[in-house]
């Protein structure tokens, strides 16, 4: 009976979400309704809602979310992404498809100071895309690189998805952060390899620049920007890895460090206010989702629905079938809703399943984030793709160009995901090593 109620409520939830209701509202209200139907007592349901609103995010861990978002916005606003891109460009001067590889490299470093893919996608659409087109790069190739490599942001710490995952599964945020580093670098290498091989096989899509083109020396402001970002990366990831900081402390130092770097790079009152303002607009909706998700996981826990769904999955018998089904569900959800919502909806159900089939939990988290990221590159919702579309200074770019260009990156993401699951050492090595 209780399980039936939950199944109906999840069905209603999916319907409301598809109809465009605010996801947090749909999540909270269907959970309240479900608890009411199950308990037959309205006061209990409302009481649980009240305590979720007040207690759910009332913990020191949650402050990392606003802090890391603010840090990312300071870095984005400071214009250092462009400095990084130029610096990578200089270093890589004779590689085929140099500008594409520089985009991947720049994104790798940039993503170590931001937690969301959208910021990187917007930044590199403005910076890297016009450069690539100027040298006659193929449109789909160029835009695909920008969209694909933005996905590194969700894997390389600080990553919003990994924070949310850690909170939901009561894992250590620091451990998941470190677990994302090696797979992130590995993914960056795969992306670069793809760019080089494509450019090498079909030189006309990425013509080499005339000699001497890359020889413009970096200005001192560009060097300051690039070195400053590297210093921030060292401070945040090094501090976590060396056990110097907890994630909360790393976030605080990173935020203030990013603000100082921004001011050194010429950010003034207006830009600082823009960063603070835009960070707050991203944070609120995510935090209310977390509160709503608390209600939802209470509903799941009270009804025993998790065991029921787990039973359905485990009845499949075959581990590969179970993993395959989980992957398909994530990718389909990736077509519909954003990645944080996907994690909130599915992780409370999928993590117990993955435990009972004996998967390494750290590797499963990285696997999950990679698969969900792949969903961000697929039509029709693909948030990253829309961010690129909105920021690319080229009116002729259509969504289909971006989806086609990003498709190989989507496949590489999935490949990397299964490699991480097959070889858990990829994600476990760094966190184990730091102890």
């Amino acid at each position: 009976m209780a399980v039936d109620t939950v199944i109906y409520m999840v069905g209603l939830l999916v319907l409301l979400v598809l109809l465009g209701f605010h996801i947090a509202v749909a999540l909270a209200m269907t959970s309240v309704l479900g608890i009411y139907l199950m308990m037959g007592n309205f006061d209990i349901a409302v009481h649980l809602l009240g305590s979720a609103a007040y207690e759910a995010v009332r913990s020191q861990t949650y402050i990392v979310i606003p802090l890391f978002i603010l840090m990312g916005d300071f870095v984005s606003k400071s214009g250092t992404a462009s400095d990084l891109y130029q610096a990578c460009n200089r270093v890589l001067w004779r590689v085929s498809g140099r500008l594409a590889v520089a985009t991947v490299a720049g994104n790798t470093i940039f993503s170590a100071v931001t937690g969301v893919s959208v910021a990187a996608a917007a930044a590199f659409s403005r910076i890297a895309y016009p450069e690539m087109r100027r040298l006659g790069y193929d449109r789909e190739y160029a835009v695909g690189v920008v969209a694909g490599s933005a996905c590194l942001g969700m894997l390389i710490p600080p990553s919003l998805l990994l924070i949310v995952w850690a909170i939901l599964t009561e894992a250590s945020v620091g451990r998941l952060f470190l677990a994302g580093v090696v797979p992130g670098l590995f993914l960056a290498i795969l992306f670069s390899a793809y760019c080089i091989i494509r450019a090498w096989l079909k030189p006309e899509i990425a013509p080499n620049p005339p000699t001497g083109d890359a020889a413009q020396p970096l200005t001192s402001s560009q060097i300051l920007g690039a070195v400053g970002v590297l210093a921030l990366v060292l401070l945040v990831i090094g501090g976590l890895w060396g056990g110097l900081f907890t994630p909360t402390e790393a976030a605080a130092f990173g935020t203030i460090g990013a603000m100082i770097l921004g001011i050194a790079k010429g950010m003034r009152h207006r830009e600082i206010m823009q960063a603070i303002y835009s960070a707050a607009r991203t944070t609120g909706p995510i935090m209310i989702l977390l509160i709503a998700a608390t209600m939802y996981s209470r509903l799941l826990a009270m009804s025993g629905a998790v065991n029921f769904i787990q039973g359905i999955f485990l009845d499949l018998g075959n581990v590969f079938l179970i993993i395959g089904l989980i992957t398909v569900i994530w990718i389909v959800l990736g077509l519909l809703i954003d990645s944080v919502s996907i994690i909130l909806l599915t992780v409370p159900i999928f993590v117990p399943i993955s435990m009972s089939i004996g998967l390494d939990q750290t590797a499963f988290a990285i696997f999950g984030v990679l698969v969900i990221e792949a969903g961000l590159l697929t039509p029709p919702f693909g948030l990253v793709v829309y961010a690129v579309k909105g920021s690319v200074p080229d009116r002729e770019i259509k969504l289909s160009h971006i989806f086609r260009g990003a498709f190989p990156f989507c496949l590489i993401l999935l490949l990397c995901a299964f490699l991480v699951l097959g070889f858990p050492q990829l994600s476990n090595w760094l966190p184990d090593f730091s102890r």
Binding site: V17, L18, G20, F21, H22, I23, A24, V25, M29, V32, V46, H47, L49, G50, S51, A53, Y54, V57, R58, Q60, Y62, L67, L70, D73, K77, V118, A119, A121, A122, A123, R126, E249, A251, A252, F253, I256, E271, M273, Q274, I276, Y277, S278, A279, A280, R281, T283, G284, P285, I288, I291, L336, I337, D338, V340, S341, F381, L383, Y386, G390, S391
Partner: protein
């Protein structure tokens, strides 16, 4: 009247943003204090815990008004204008109901916390928790009102971007605004003038 209300939502939003910055400074002072002077900041962790709740709720009214709440518009895109509007109205009504319920649910605990002077922490530094309850109640009332305002704006054709609003395009604008390259006057300046 409406402008004033949105202005208030912006002001509390900006307060919340600066609050986060203050927390960052506080954590750093705490860490440095422990490392170099063996004296941690008293009550820092209690303040942070309670601040997360306050900061979150202070951001919500503007998040609702500016269409930043996460949603998908997959189905609504295929509907005629009236269908979309009816759906949005239902969605906003449910949002109103949620915040109204939160107010109803937290009213009792908030009154108790105020009456008995409930606090957190021990020893010399006690953090009273009623201000957090008050902020939660106040912003939830604003959240509920904001959803009603959205319905009114919708039926009087005052939503900025009818089809995509508040959805994917809002993300695009946000992404563009992050880079300060959207060419429009950023909402920041509004809030600066108001605050």
């Amino acid at each position: 009247m409406l402008r004033g209300y949105v202005g208030l939502a912006r002001i509390i939003h900006v307060i919340s943003a600066f609050w986060i910055l203050m927390i960052a400074v506080m954590i750093i002072v705490d860490v440095l204090g422990r490392a170099f002077f063996s004296s941690p900041l008293q009550g820092a962790s209690e303040i942070i815990r309670n601040s997360v709740v306050a900061v979150t709720f202070l951001q919500l009214p503007l998040a609702i008004l500016s269409g930043s709440m996460l949603r998908t518009e997959l189905v609504s895109e295929f509907l005629p204008a009236t269908g979309r509007r009816v759906l949005r109205t239902l969605a906003f009504l449910l949002g109103f109901l949620l915040f109204a319920l939160i107010v109803y649910a937290d009213w009792g605990p908030a009154m108790v916390a105020y009456r008995i002077g409930e606090y957190e922490g021990e020893g010399a530094l006690r953090i009273p928790v009623w201000p957090v309850h008050i902020i939660l109640l106040f912003t939830s009332v604003m959240g509920a009102i904001s959803y009603l305002v959205m319905i009114w704006l919708d039926w009087t054709n005052q939503l900025e971007d009818e089809i995509a609003y508040p959805g994917i395009l809002a993300f695009d604008r946000e992404a563009a605004a992050v880079m300060g390259l959207d060419g429009k006057d950023s909402p920041v300046q509004d809030s600066e003038e108001r605050s």
